[in-house]
Amino acid sequence: MNDGARLAAADRSARVRHADRAARFVADAGQTDWHDAVLWRIRGKRDAAAGRVEGWERLRALASEIKEHTLSRLDEYLAAFEEAATANGAQVHWAADADAHNRIVRDVLRARGVRRVVKSKSMLTEECGLNPYLEARGFEVVDTDLGERIVQLREEPPSHLVAPAIHVRKEEIAALFHEKLGTPADADDPRLLAAAMREDLRARFLAADAAITGVNFAVASTGALVLVTNEGNADLGAHLAPAHIACMGIEKLIPKPEHLGVFLRLLARSATGQPLSVYTSYFCRPPPGRELHIVLVDNGRSRRLAQPDFRAALKCIRCGACLNTCPVYRRSGGHSYGATPSGPIGAILAPGMDMKRYASLPFASSLCGSCSDVCPVKIDIHAQLHRWRQVAAREGYVAWPKRWGMRVAGWIVRSPRRYRLAGRLARAWLRHAPRRLRYGSWNAWGRARELPRVPDRSFGEWYAAERGKK
């Protein structure tokens, strides 16, 4: 193992402390406000787009029911898809976990003598750590979505499902492109920066030996893959390289083409407010003389399918709407989650992959439920966040002040007498204890805020006094 890989492994095994990471993000107040506002604007566009569709709620219900049906017969649909895709001339591979997935991709590339790989956006390959795996084995891997390319050049993970570089300012991108692409030093016009990347990546598309893409939907009855982009990068990669490797989680299946219409009407509207993304590509057969490999990946999905409390997360179509609406995500940034995907959906997916590492994520929420309200496939995200908290507590992943605090609070509220006494003591203490004590390190809430004014008496005392007047 080289140093980079060792560091990466150490980083992966460390616990993610969402609050600490969020503190680093909010240290830059200007950037936090911008991030908050720009994502809220996308949420607004989503609302406007949804509002223009008659029967939007019925569409959401349909999408949810289609996914639930597919999951309830997933083994049959997987076998049907494999048969249809194989008949179309694709080669279908099965990977039980991330390691198997990475080895399969490596073997396909090696068998073809590939050196240069172009990639389009795939959350699955992020989940499997494919890029570092391939780079350590001598392959040149280039992400081609503009935002993905920016974070790849910055050597960091994407921070948002749909807008991977939403956390980066254009001045930083200008400096990065000046260094990597030779753009003028102060040129930060997005059009100029995007044009420079277009030129750079065109040459790479034309020279690539293989293309790796994700998959948005796989149609079981026809064996077709559906890929959605705005930039056209997935198509350029897949059509120009001699081999196309499409990597997908086993939950991406839908039964028939007619079901595609339901999801396509929801996906882009929920993601960006567009009625449809620019390119929705339907791959049935590889062209003559070309190879199409499809890697079906489990990596914990069958385990999740067996969990009634958490299986609904498998319905996710990766639109990012729950990120844009989340008051915590908007103000803490995607990197505070230490997981891909980030945001509310990441906070219910990641603990299922590695509870020890991601136990803090279900707590990165106000449980307001906005994520569930905008989810196009009606995943009960906030309810799952709450259930993951209970799992975290049961398995001992909650810090002792909270654990004991909850235990004491539970003891107090079980008795009206103890409750009234505790209230009187707390009011007296809050009024008379020195500020240094009231705002000690234990008071995370008070770090950035003033505690509310302490009332003279409880509602119960006031009510009793008012009644006594009559």
């Binding site: 049906h69 198509d235 390119y279």
Partner: protein
């Protein structure tokens, strides 16, 4: 064991583990299956607007997706393209009906990347989002509509369906290897959410309604 036999044995072992992975995944999924949930009928969500509005709605949607839409006579597609791109050095099409350069699957990608304008026949349009379905047979080669600097799609105005439900119903009988819905020119908003037209694919999209 000589080297070749050892490699064959390794290959067989590898094959077994792959087959093993398939069986193990399918078995794990089968065991985890939730209670059967019925497949709903896709009903009650279809667009019911009358045919009369389809062309107008398609035009508005395509324009909102940054496409240019023009009404032309069926016989004047070539003239409209040359008028729209007076400075174009190279204009190609995969359809012999038009007098442009002939695009075909054997075209070198590097040559396609220098192509100024590609003109393709669209199979049908979608009113709700301004998308045009483009089948592989109308592209020349699959990469051509993504490599050309500008894309022109000619679409029969009577071939516009109301929504994606009607559009995806048509995919049931689609027999070609590849096709794509194209809604506007390629674009990105990855730098501070600023819209930039012409990301990796065409810098403009023109739809000619015949």
């Amino acid at each position: 064991m000589n080297r070749k036999r050892r490699q064959n044995a390794l290959g067989r072992a590898e094959h077994r583990t792959r087959n093993g992975a398939r069986a193990a995944i399918l078995e794990a999924v089968r065991r985890a299956r939730p209670r059967a949930a019925p497949l709903p009928l896709v009903a009650g969500v279809q667009d019911t607007a009358g045919d009369a509005e389809l062309v107008a709605r398609f035009m508005a949607s395509a324009q909102a997706a940054s496409a240019t839409v023009r009404m032309v006579e069926a016989g004047s597609v070539e003239a409209a393209v040359r008028e729209a791109f007076p400075g174009a050095a190279s204009i190609a099409s995969a359809t012999p009906a038009w007098s442009f350069e002939q695009a075909n699957p054997a075209d070198e990608a590097s040559a396609l990347a220098r192509l100024d304008v590609l003109v393709c026949p669209g199979a049908f349009g979608v009113a709700e989002n301004g998308a045009v379905w483009l089948a592989e047979s109308g592209m020349g080669s699959r990469a051509a509509p993504f490599l050309a600097q500008h894309l022109v799609l000619a679409l029969d105005r009577s071939a516009i369906v109301p929504d994606m439900h009607a559009a995806c119903d048509r995919l049931k009988t689609f027999g070609e290897g590849y096709g794509a819905f194209v809604a506007g020119p390629s674009k990105t908003a990855d730098i501070e959410q600023t819209l930039v037209i012409g990301a990796h694919g065409p810098r403009s999209l023109t739809v000619l309604l015949t």
